[in-house]
């Protein structure tokens, strides 16, 4: 590559010409070429949408409303079905609209912009939540079925635009390419008003009515196409090519996830200094075992304070249950032998069989697992009451899987499912204890091992795939608000006669 020998900024500027010559050239250019250019440029593109947002109460809400409009416009643009009208033109059109606009005045503004539809974005506050509402109003007859209103809610400001954009993306799932046939050419091909932006590439496509069309070449917004005779006189066609919504949904979901994690992270909740991840690891490996050595059971709750929660209160059932389990670890072999055997594992006496000794060793050696489970149980309680997400939550599924591999039920506690967590812990420990206790009976060990493997597999899968139970988090993952849904069902009664049912369900979440 040639080394540049340009000016200090590394740029070489295009040589300028004499201003008078330039001015003359410009005027000639404008008068000679601009009519043609303007004609081409003002030729209407079908499927344009004007997105209106209005000043709200407060600067923050106004900025958020504008951000929502920008994000929605970007989503429309990326999905290639409705071309957003440029923001500058919208601002100019809104200048003539009253401060509190009604639908009729917006309709007039949208018509002046030559838009086929318009969308109105409104934000409001409902308790702690921000509610975003978008109303899509068709202007062209072609899009009359698209009229709809939907709302989303969130406790995280920056998620409102993203959740609205998500719903806009979902609208596009079944939208084919609607294209006008603009011109018939001398070689029998046609100029189509849809191109790369709409997702078309050279190749064979089908229309929604099943006819085959062949696209020979595309520009950004037009195509050269071969049409069957049946379509050659049609003014417009619908091509069965649907927008790739999945990739955009994934990207929006990632951003919602990031914003939610940022808002509800331990770091944002007031912990300072060491990373929350390091505190979490330190808590499991060092602080919690030490605390339980001093105060068995209750130590698990005390160690949660190491992570820096603002408000901590113990889960009393969790403390009681884990304390009982710790006692069980030491007392179970004694209880099974009516307190005749030596308390310490490995110290044999006449009453202690080899199997019982194995069980005792197992129970003593798995005490660290039980205290870790008790710690995770208390943490799940703290995360819920403090509305904080656990560390590593950006990779929550992988983190839950790793925890479940190391600690029985760990992944379920991590995602806030305390009762299933205890269920998996008890199942794993019982089956592992059974295998150890019946070590010499190969058949029992085999069946015990198979059962343990099965339970562990179910646990790992559940940990990875189950959604978290934190309500504040799930609210950010929900879609549009559905205040009521209508259902209809038909089922036979006892005598075989059909019974028709009509129901209305409301969500109070």
């Amino acid at each position: 590559m040639r080394t540049s020998d340009r000016n200090s900024s590394g740029l070489r500027v295009i040589p300028s010409r004499h201003p008078l010559i330039l001015a003359a050239a410009s005027i000639a250019f404008i008068f000679c070429i601009s009519p043609q250019l303007l004609a081409a440029d003002t030729d209407r593109l079908s499927g344009t949408i004007a997105i209106f947002s209005f000043p709200q109460a407060g600067i923050q809400f106004t900025a958020l409303s504008q951000k929502a409009a920008d994000t929605i416009a970007d989503t429309f643009d990326r999905l290639g079905r409705f071309m957003p009208v440029e923001a500058g033109r919208i601002q100019r059109a809104l200048a003539d609209v009253p401060e509190k606009p009604d639908e009729a005045s917006l309709l007039k503004a949208a018509e002046r912009l030559n838009a086929d539809l318009f969308a109105m974005v409104v934000l409001s506050q409902l308790g702690n939540s921000i509610v975003g509402t978008i109303t899509i109003v068709p202007i062209s007859e072609r899009y009359k079925n698209l009229r709809q209103t939907f709302s989303v809610r969130s406790l995280v400001l920056m998620n409102v635009p993203l959740k609205l954009a998500r719903e806009v993306a979902l609208l596009h799932r079944k939208l084919p390419v609607e294209a006008d046939i603009l011109e018939r050419r001398s070689d029998g091909t046609f100029l189509l008003g849809a191109g790369q932006w709409q997702g078309l590439r050279p190749g064979k496509y089908r229309t929604t009515s099943g006819e085959a069309v062949i696209i020979r070449n595309t520009s950004r917004l037009h195509s050269i196409v071969e049409l069957p005779p049946v379509l050659s006189r049609a003014g417009q066609i619908s091509i069965r090519e649907f927008p790739a919504v999945r990739g955009i949904l994934r990207e929006i979901d990632d951003r919602i996830e990031y914003n939610t994690n940022y808002k509800y992270s331990l770091a944002n909740a007031g912990t300072q200094g060491v990373d929350p991840e390091k505190k979490f690891m330190g808590g499991i490996c060092l602080i919690n075992p030490g605390a339980n050595f001093c105060i068995p059971g209750y130590g698990s709750f005390l160690s949660t304070a190491y992570l820096g929660f603002r408000n901590t209160s113990p889960s009393i059932p969790g403390v009681v249950f884990s304390s009982l389990l710790l006692v069980t670890h030491f007392i179970l072999p004694e209880a099974m032998t009516k307190f005749k055997i030596n308390f310490f594992p490995g110290v044999m006496d006449d009453d202690k069989t080899a199997d019982m000794n194995n069980l005792q060793i197992f129970l003593w050696s798995t005490v660290p697992l039980t205290v870790s489970v008790a710690f995770l149980d208390q943490l799940a309680h703290q995360f819920t009451i403090n509305s904080v997400l656990p560390p590593f939550f950006m990779t929550k599924n992988e983190a839950a899987l790793v925890l479940s591999m190391v600690i029985p039920g760990g992944g379920m506690f991590y995602k806030g499912h305390r009762i299933p967590g205890w269920g998996f812990y008890l199942s794993d420990m019982f089956l592992a204890g059974f295998c150890v206790y019946t070590k010499d009976d190969k058949k029992k060990v085999m069946w015990g091992g198979i059962a343990l493997g099965g339970v562990k597999l179910v646990e790992l899968l559940s940990s990875f795939f189950s959604p978290p139970s934190f309500k504040f988090y799930n609210k950010e993952k929900e879609g549009r608000i559905r205040p009521a849904s209508l259902s209809f069902q038909v089922h036979p009664d006892g005598s075989g006669e059909p019974v028709y049912g009509l129901g209305m369900s409301f969500s109070f979440q």
Binding site: L38, E86, Y262
Partner: protein
């Protein structure tokens, strides 16, 4: 009237640029406009990106940049930021490529989206290449650091763009029956003929009419071609050279100059590092660097080999011999494998625990990283410890693949070459079981082949020092059902990729 004012002003700017272009050499003109930003930090990056992009384009000697600051300001001033307006503008200004960049500031990250539109034949304003990168913004960098980051992304984008971009060379009538194209190119090219032009729009179809052989821009035997036909030629070599240049430059910025002494240091610390790896890697390495992914992978991947190491060294096979007991082959193999893991094999994960964070710092321009980026060190590490060379280069996937392949092949090779020693109580002597030479030498050959491939791969591969993550655009694979004209149902699989 108000609508036409910005358009007229934009036309004035087009005239300025067109006038400049007319004076320029016959190089494709490239317009760069970073349009959208949403924070002061992003606005600063805009200028850096534009400057770097213009400088790189200018230095190619094959393309010519339009003054990006002027272009951006004029586009913004006259409200010509919409895609359609910008493409019309670029077309009238005689540009061959127009690049649009948008920044989206997201606290810890900056999303940079760049999109290049090809103007004229054969693209007709289509997007030629699109690139979205997520750039970490957590490091404390100065203007020069951010300048380097922008230069890197501009370089990656342009090299990938030029690898795809094609320009048409139209056939012109030369003296006699020969044709020539406007550039000195040689080779065999596909020739295309444009379809008739329509009344509206500039877009035309074109058909392939055959191949032509060109020598230094001349076509001695034109065959069925005639004037107006064209060939498409690209810039693949330029793109490759830009890519290599960018990688070399970044290595010079983030690594010290490689020296053989570094390989000697690596040789000296291999033994101690390997022996202490089970303690030092998780604490001094992964925990200190908050590399939690590394820590989890370390735990699961080390466990089986650590078991073999401890079991092998604790259960010394010679004790069986002293106690007059038969010595199983596994006991012997575990012992020697344990020695290998103690002295050299453990170095692999020690290297990973340190190199991963150093490579990450290098990729984000956070200081000069010592001992990194040396091909000799990579080769040495790959030779003595399975996968260590690849971990040193920052490639965890290949590292773990070689780590497991090497360890498993080594263990099973040892096991084949160390047969059971059976003690006969009657004669009080040991007898060696027979070695399956075919199996043993097959395994040895496989181990050697993997090792040679690993060393060569580790020496030749690049360090993983690219800044940020490149995000792919939306793609989807989904089943589809068509109903044809004859009401037959066709089933198919659709792969769609959207620009």
């Amino acid at each position: 009237m108000r609508r036409h004012l910005p358009r007229a002003a934009a036309l004035l700017l087009m005239t300025l640029l067109s006038a400049g272009a007319a004076f320029a050499e016959e190089k494709p003109l490239v317009g760069i406009a970073a349009i959208r930003t949403n924070s002061p930090r992003a606005t600063m990056l805009t200028t850096l990106l534009e400057e770097n992009m213009a400088r790189i384009i200018d230095s190619t000697d094959s393309f010519k940049p339009v003054n990006p600051a002027l272009l951006r300001e004029e586009l913004k001033r006259f409200g010509c930021t919409e895609e359609r307006c910008m493409l019309g503008f670029a077309s009238e200004a005689g540009m061959s490529l127009v690049i649009r960049a948008d920044f989206d500031d997201s606290d810890d990250f900056m999303f940079l989206s760049m999109r290049a539109y090809g103007i004229g034949v054969p693209y007709y304003s289509r997007v030629v290449y699109q690139y979205t990168a997520r750039i970490p913004m957590t490091g404390k960098l100065g203007t020069s650091g951010y300048g380097s980051i922008m230069e890197e992304h501009a370089g990656i984008f342009l090299s990938k763009l030029f690898a795809r971009y094609r320009v048409p060379l139209f056939l012109e009538q030369g003296p006699g029956a020969a044709f020539h194209v406007g550039r000195s190119v040689s080779g065999t090219f596909d020739a295309y003929r444009p379809d008739p032009e329509g009344e509206k729009r500039g877009i035309r179809g074109f058909r392939k009419i055959g191949a032509v052989r060109i020598k230094n821009g001349s076509i001695p035997a034109p065959g069925a071609t005639h004037a107006g036909d064209f060939i498409l030629t690209g810039f693949r070599e330029l793109a490759e050279s830009m890519d290599n240049h960018r990688y070399r430059m970044k290595k010079e910025i983030v690594f010290r100059k490689p020296s053989p002494v570094e390989a000697i240091y690596a040789l000296l610390i291999t033994g101690p590092a390997s022996a202490t790896m089970p303690i030092l890697a998780p604490t001094v390495g992964y925990y200190r660097a908050s590399d939690w992914q590394g820590l989890a992978l370390w735990g699961f991947n080390l466990a089986p080999y650590l078991y073999l190491e401890i079991n092998g060294l604790a259960n010394y096979w010679a004790n069986y011999y002293n106690k007059k007991k038969s010595t199983p082959r596994d006991v012997q193999a575990q012992y020697y494998f344990g020695l290998y893991m103690l002295c050299a094999g453990g170095a692999t994960l020690f290297v990973d625990s340190l190199a991963h964070s150093m490579i990450e710092k290098a990729s984000n321009y956070q200081g000069i990283q010592p001992f990194m980026g040396n091909a000799l060190t990579a080769g040495y590490l790959a030779l003595v410890s399975g996968g260590a060379g690849h971990f040193y280069r920052g490639d965890r996937l290949w590292g773990y693949l070689y780590y497991h392949a090497d360890n498993l092949l080594l263990y099973f090779t040892l096991r084949e070459f160390l047969p059971d020693r059976k003690f006969n109580p009657l004669t009080r002597t040991f007898t060696r079981a027979k070695v399956s030479k075919l199996r043993a030498y097959s395994l040895l050959s496989a181990a050697c082949a993997v090792k040679i491939a690993e060393v060569v791969h580790a020496v030749l591969m690049r360090d993983d020092i690219q800044n940020g993550d490149i995000i792919d655009e939306g793609y989807a694979v989904e089943p589809i059902i068509y109903s044809g004209e004859d009401y037959n149902v066709s089933l198919g699989l659709q792969y769609s990729y959207r620009w």
